[in-house]
Structure formats: structure tokens, C-alpha cells
């Protein structure tokens, strides 16, 4: 998780950063803030009891802090004053940076959905034909975002670039990232244990639907 935070700090952190050391420090600050905030919120909801074993306390905090730390680093982009440095950083986002932001968006949105029972439940109800249709829909929605929103005013997509070129260079890798992020999260939450290939693929496609929307709209969040 930390490498993702370091990268995120580079692209949009809560303060302008100048070198990678700065980014690493910011990433840890973001994680620490999220850790403390998670403790406060979990304690308020009665999820932190005196009799709880240490590994449960740490586990709950670490899990909550993952989403929280991404939020902490995104806060600047969401509420903060947009300074010129940040704008400039955005304008200059490279292809790799673009895909990295997609990964963050996918993780951020899918993180809260992956632990639920519903993903596997929906996958169980779906036939393969419906799963294919969902994958195609995810690609269409992603491409619509990539084409219409993501690159508005972008210098690195000149006019006249054919649509298929954008589709192959941004949408397809973006959806692949959403799928991989989904598999990673499902694995983290033990949802892949004992699952057959068909079930695993269907579950990944189900979770990749919100993940792909997160990936495509990452640019709006950040």
C-alpha cells in the first residue's frame, strides 16, 4: 500500500513535493493521520473494546487506514486550494502516471465493496453471458469517461488521435488494471479461497465494474 501512497503524493499530495523523499514522508504522514482517524471512528462505533486481542485491533485499524490514507492524500485535490504547482503536475501527467491514477481510483472505489458478501452473491446469480455483457458495459463506460472527461484540456492528446488508439492505450489497460485490482482485493479479503476459475473470473468482473468507474473517474477526484 505504501508505494501507492508515495505515488499518489507525487501526483496530488496535500503539499507540493519536490523529490521522492518528500513523497515518502507525505505518504507516511497520510497513513498516520488515517490510522488515528480510523481509531477515533471505530472507537465511536464501539468497534474498539478493551477486551479485544491486539491483532484484531491492529488489523481493523490497518484495514480502515488503507482507504483513509488515500482519502487523506486526496483531500487537497478535493477541498484544498488548487495551486499552480498542482495544476502543472496534472497537465504533465504521463501515460504511466495516468494508468497509476487509474489504479488508485480502482482501489479506492472497490476497497469498500470487496469485503462484502454481495459480490460473490451477485457472481453466483450471473451466468457467463451476463458477465460478458457486464465486462463490455464496463469498457464502454470507461471509454466514455476516458474520451469525454479524462482528457479534457489535455496537452498530450492532440486532435486527430484516432479513437481506437485511445481505446487501446488507455481504456483497455485501465480495465485490465481494474480487473487486477479487483482480484488483488478479493484475494486480500479471502474471497478467492477455494474458488474455481469460472467463479473467480465472474467475481472479478463484478467487482471490476465499480473499480473501472473508479479508475475512469480518478481524474475527477484527484
Amino acid at each position: 500500500m505504501i508505494p501507492v501512497l508515495v505515488g499518489l503524493s507525487h501526483y496530488c499530495g496535500f503539499e507540493p513535493t519536490f523529490d521522492w523523499q518528500d513523497d515518502v514522508v507525505d505518504a507516511f504522514v497520510g497513513y498516520a493521520v488515517a490510522f488515528a482517524a480510523s481509531f477515533l471512528v471505530l472507537a465511536l462505533f464501539g468497534e474498539m473494546q478493551p477486551g479485544m486481542p491486539a491483532h484484531e485491533v491492529v488489523g481493523k485499524l490497518a484495514l480502515q487506514a488503507v482507504g483513509g490514507s488515500i482519502g487523506a492524500l486526496l483531500a487537497e485535490g478535493q477541498f484544498g486550494m488548487r495551486d499552480e504547482h498542482a495544476e502543472e503536475e496534472k497537465e504533465n501527467t504521463s501515460h504511466a502516471g495516468e494508468l497509476f491514477l487509474m489504479l488508485v481510483g480502482a482501489l479506492f472505489l472497490a476497497l469498500s465493496i470487496a469485503p462484502t458478501e454481495e459480490v460473490a452473491l451477485i457472481a453466483n446469480k450471473m451466468g457467463p453471458a451476463q458477465a460478458i455483457a457486464l465486462a463490455v458495459l464496463s469498457l464502454i463506460v470507461m471509454h466514455a469517461f476516458v474520451y469525454a472527461l479524462g482528457f479534457r484540456g489535455q496537452a498530450d492528446v492532440p486532435e486527430g488521435t484516432p479513437r481506437w488508439s485511445l481505446f487501446l492505450r488507455y481504456t483497455v489497460p485501465g480495465y485490465a488494471i481494474a480487473l487486477l485490482a479487483s482480484v488483488y482485493l478479493l484475494w486480500t479479503f479471502g474471497r478467492t479461497d477455494g474458488a474455481g476459475v469460472e467463479h473467480l473470473v465472474t467475481t472479478a468482473v463484478v467487482l471490476a465494474f465499480p473499480a473501472s468507474i473508479g479508475a475512469a473517474t480518478a481524474r475527477l477526484l484527484i
Binding site: 460478458i132 496537452a155 492528446v157 483497455v172 485490465a176 487486477l180 474455481g196 469460472e198 465472474t202 468482473v205
Partner: protein
């Protein structure tokens, strides 16, 4: 990045005419992943296993507890359709009689997947035969 003709702001990465080779490599890699996923689904749709749920039950382990014993059971759905709320019974047989019976349920058993559960007994089932049987399921 050398001399792109039709751009207002030259010398920025990812220019129009000379898209870096790496971007196409990543694009191709993404295409492979997406095609593989859709390929698996197409295969399942066309030639996939459509047999009804077939639950294979095996005893994984038996362990003593403070207040009895637990028999860990592994349920594998070797059929092609998913099953929900699969209830099973476990019976301990001694001298062709049921000594003790217990039951549990599996919430979801996707096709070609397995889950584990435990059934509790008061007496030690280890010297005797344990018979496992799936009673029924619900279509999800």
C-alpha cells in the same frame, strides 16, 4: 518528441505522431488480460459445464474441544451450477446404528469451488465411521 507538426505545445511527452513503444506494449498487455477474462467467460457460456450441483463431502480433520469434538468438513461442488444454502448432515455410525448426528449449512458453493465448515459432536467420533450427506440446496 522531435518535430511533431500539428501541435500547439511541442516537446511534451506522449506526443501525437510518435507514441512511445512502451505505451503500445502496455496496451497489448492489457488486451491480453481482458481477452483472457472474456475468453474464459465465452468458453463457459458455449462449452461450459451445465450439470447440476454435485456436492462431494470429505472429512478434513477431527479435533477435541473443551466441550466435545469438531469434525471439519470440506464440501466441493464438482457440478457446473452454483448452489446456495447447502445443508448437510454428519452421522456417527457404530455397530450399524446412528450413535450421534449433527448438521450444518454452507451459504454458497460456486461451481468447481470448495468451502470448509465444522460439525460438533459430544462424543468422540474418531473410533467410529462418519457418514456425510448433502440434504439439499437452493438455486441462487
Amino acid at each position: 518528441m522531435s518535430d511533431s507538426s500539428d501541435r500547439k505545445t511541442p516537446s511534451k511527452p506522449g506526443a501525437a505522431s510518435d507514441i512511445p513503444f512502451l505505451e503500445w506494449v502496455i496496451g497489448a498487455l492489457g488486451l491480453v488480460i481482458v481477452t483472457a477474462v472474456v475468453g474464459v467467460l465465452i468458453y463457459e457460456a458455449v462449452a461450459g459445464d451445465k450439470s447440476p450441483p454435485d456436492i462431494k463431502l470429505t472429512v478434513q480433520s477431527i479435533a477435541p474441544l473443551q466441550n466435545g469434538f469438531v469434525v471439519k468438513v470440506r464440501a466441493e461442488n464438482i457440478g457446473g451450477e452454483p448452489a446456495a444454502r447447502v445443508s448437510i448432515t454428519a452421522e456417527v455410525w457404530a455397530q450399524s446404528k446412528v450413535v450421534e448426528a449433527s448438521e450444518t449449512q454452507f451459504e454458497h458453493l460456486p461451481p468447481h469451488s470448495f468451502r470448509e465448515a465444522g460439525v460438533f459432536f459430544q462424543r468422540d467420533p474418531r473410533p467410529n465411521e462418519i457418514r456425510l450427506r448433502a440434504l439439499g440446496y437452493e438455486e441462487p
